[in-house]
């Protein structure tokens, strides 16, 4: 079996490549032409394919001999604006799948996101049956949510049109080394951290655990046709995770708790009065974006467990240790990290799956 991984040198992508290699799967890693892969620790034999999905040239060749596409490439940040984010995520997907339609590959695993859900209407537990953000409310959300919703829409349409086997995986906040300050942690002003809803839980998945699900979904036929949320547990509380973050990074910080209901009320009132429903405000001041970051919900990995038998292999304490440990050898070599993880399995405490 050969798997084509797009966005292969990204934060999640490099771990997905390692997870597939650790399972003995042949991988073709698609990275941008100017991307540096020297410090990723990939074996020299790894099949590297350089292309930019925004340009539709040569993409068909990327599918030569490929059985499964794991499509991770997306613009996570909106550095060049919402439209550039849309182009990198959605137009890139159009080009990639347009090329795939001319090849023999018929299996897709897509990295979608929790951002596609309608956070405003969901109460209690957010799971795979929760409603997606409807039109036109989607266009009040941020560029990432718009792009990921459209990416999923485009992939589902093409999969239906061409009869492809599709698996959609929706991870929560993917975290790990150098990616531990999550958007839900609140607002940082100098050394002060305004923690909105300190006891709320965040949908989190440690990057290696998340990569495992993608590797599993690529090779396990039970994943076909499924949509699965990817979280490690019912979620860590914002207050305690921020504490871990401050301790782990050695930063001095003062956490100031603000009740979610109070902050939510203030944001809603201000948005509809003073700010006149302006959508160019900072994210935290727009109610639907505020909710998508901070709403106190519960999360479950029950379906991924039922369908794929998946449980996060690293528990929270180990994930924290790996994220903040000053271990240069592990830091520089994610492939070695996978090997180390496999050998350390017996040392780990009970996985934190949610029944």
């Amino acid at each position: 079996m050969k798997v084509l991984v797009t966005g292969a040198n990204g934060f999640l992508g490099r771990h997905v490549v390692s997870a597939l290699l650790a399972r003995g799967i042949e991988v073709r890693a698609l990275v941008r032409p100017a991307a540096s892969v020297d410090d990723l620790g990939w074996p020299t034999s790894l099949d590297l394919f350089r292309a930019d999905l925004r340009s539709s040239r040569d993409l068909e060749q990327a599918f030569d001999g490929v059985d499964v596409l794991v499509h991770l490439a997306a613009a996570v940040t909106g550095g060049a604006g919402e439209d550039a984010q849309f182009a990198a995520t959605v137009v890139g997907t159009e080009h990639l799948l347009g090329a795939m339609a001319r090849t023999a590959c018929t299996r897709v695993v897509l990295a979608s996101s929790f951002s596609v859900y309608d956070w405003s209407s969901i109460r209690g537990v957010l799971d795979e049956a929760s409603p997606l953000e409807p039109i036109p409310d989607l266009y009040a959300r941020d560029g990432y949510a718009i792009a990921k919703s459209w990416q999923e829409r485009v992939v589902r349409r093409l999969a239906c049109e061409h009869g492809w086997d599709l698996t959609v995986l929706r991870p929560g906040f993917i975290w790990g080394r150098d990616h531990a300050y999550l958007a839900a942690l609140g607002i940082q002003i100098s050394t002060f951290h305004l923690v909105i809803g300190p006891l709320s839980r965040m949908p989190m998945t440690y990057v290696e655990n998340c990569a495992d699900v993608f590797a599993l979904a690529a090779i396990d036929p039970r994943a076909r046709g499924q949509t699965l949320n990817v979280v490690d547990s019912e979620g860590e509380r914002i207050w305690s995770f921020l504490g871990e973050y401050l301790r782990g990074t050695g930063q001095r910080g003062v956490r100031i708790p603000i009740a979610y209901r109070f902050a939510h009320l203030v944001v809603r009132l201000a948005f509809s009065t003073v700010f006149r429903r302006n959508l160019r405000l900072p994210q935290i001041l727009i109610p639907c974006r505020f909710e998508a970051r901070l709403k106190p919900l519960r999360y479950s990995n029950r379906r991924a467990h039922e369908i794929l038998g998946w449980q996060p292999q690293l528990d929270f304490r180990e994930c924290v240790r790996r994220t903040f440990a000053n271990d240069t050898a592990t830091r520089c070599d994610p492939h070695a990290r996978v090997q180390a993880r496999v050998s350390n399995q017996s040392l780990l405490s009970r996985p934190s799956s949610v029944p």
């Binding site: 100017a34 959605v90 137009v91 036109p136 429903r277 302006n278 959508l279 160019r280």
Partner: protein, 365 residues
């Protein structure tokens, strides 16, 4: 009037937002090469039809006005097709990649009796309009000189300097800076008229895939002189406009609402400095608050000039009155742009000479 857009990217969103607020204007279709981009823009702005082939759109929809908001290298052919389909054309700057193409478009528009409007939005910002109003009222006396300096960091890896996919504007003479020359040239034209002579200095200050990241131009025009500049290194981002008259001087940052005036006063010199300083301070404080409030309460922001230009254009098209930007105006501005791009005078800089962008071997600092 029934309008359509070709190109549904970022600047198109500003056009669409503006058009939806104009009385008597309906956006009936939009077109983009990417079906997702076209469909998304149509869904978001409640436009009833979208296309991926502009010729099909022009044939089926027969719009009165077509906005061309694609990358500049495609403007010429799209504008020509739209004019030949009987539509007025509003095209983003730069209207074409060469003066020859612009002459052809202008000729076509005149022959067909259609309007051709290039987006010179900074002429219609509050600051530019206020300066123009005071000039017309005689407060400045004759305008002697104008300076326009655009400080914009275009070296980031996600924009013009993306090393993965070359940005279309990099194929323009002068690279990414050429995308902004119509703004600078249109301001020079507004305040000192058509140019007679122009000299330019192009340089590359930092390593990137851009051919140039610094530009300075000096212009002798019919009514005065102008210094035009672009810097990718000078920060923070700002668009400074200074207009020097015989009795008054104005300073504005066109990215904000800031505009201040210094004037001759019939008082002793120390008092003139004091009064000008106090007035300037008051204007800056008021502009700072107004800029912040504008960000909180919405509105067009830095695109206010585009909104004003489009409103005036549609009003003129509806009533048959004079357009805010005429074909003669566009030709004069682009003759200056062309002169600035083609200046072949070697200029000695600190680390070596630079030549016009027609000679892309220019200096690398």
């Amino acid at each position: 009037m029934r309008s359509a857009l070709i190109g549904a990217g970022q600047i198109a969103r500003q056009h669409l937002t503006c058009l939806q607020g104009l009385p008597g204007v309906e956006v009936v279709a939009l077109c983009d090469l990417s079906p997702s981009v076209a469909e998304c823009a149509a869904e978001r702005h409640r436009v009833r039809s979208w296309f991926t082939d502009h010729r099909v759109m022009l044939r089926q929809i027969r719009p009165d006005v077509v906005h061309i908001t694609t990358p500049p290298t495609s403007h010429f052919h799209l504008a020509l097709d739209a004019l030949q389909a009987g539509a007025h054309v509003i095209v983003e700057k730069p209207a074409t990649t060469t003066l020859e193409e612009l002459n052809m478009l202008a000729r076509c528009a005149r022959e067909l009796g259609r309007a051709l409007i290039e987006d010179y939005n900074y002429l219609f910002n509050h600051a530019s309009r206020e300066i123009s109003r005071r000039i017309d009222a005689g407060e400045f006396g004759a305008v002697v000189h104008v300076e326009a300096m655009l400080c914009l960091d275009i070296l980031g890896p996600d924009g013009f300097a993306d090393a993965n996919v070359p940005h279309p504007v990099l194929s323009l003479e002068g690279g990414a800076i050429a995308d902004f020359l119509p703004h600078l040239a249109s301001l020079a034209h507004l305040f000192v008229g058509p140019h007679r002579r122009a000299r330019a200095f192009w340089a590359k200050r930092k390593p990137s895939i851009l051919p140039y990241d610094e530009f300075r131009g000096i212009v002798e025009a019919e009514r005065g002189t102008a210094c035009l500049a672009f810097s990718a290194s000078a920060q923070p981002d700002a668009f400074w406009l200074r207009v020097y008259g015989e009795r008054m001087q104005a300073t504005a940052n066109l990215f904000e609402n800031r505009v201040t005036f210094n004037r001759l006063r019939p008082y002793p010199k120390p008092l003139v400095a004091l009064l000008n300083g106090l007035e300037e301070g008051k204007s800056i404080r008021r502009a700072a608050v107004s800029t912040l409030m504008g960000k909180f309460t919405g509105g067009p922001g830095t695109y206010e000039g585009l909104f004003e230009l489009l409103a005036r254009s549609y009003r003129a098209l509806g009533t048959g009155s004079e357009l805010p930007v005429t074909i003669e105006h566009i030709l004069a501005v682009n003759r200056l742009v062309d002169a600035l791009k083609r200046d072949e005078e070697t200029t000695v800089s600190g680390k070596g000479g630079a030549r016009g962008p027609g000679h892309l071997e220019g200096s690398a600092a």
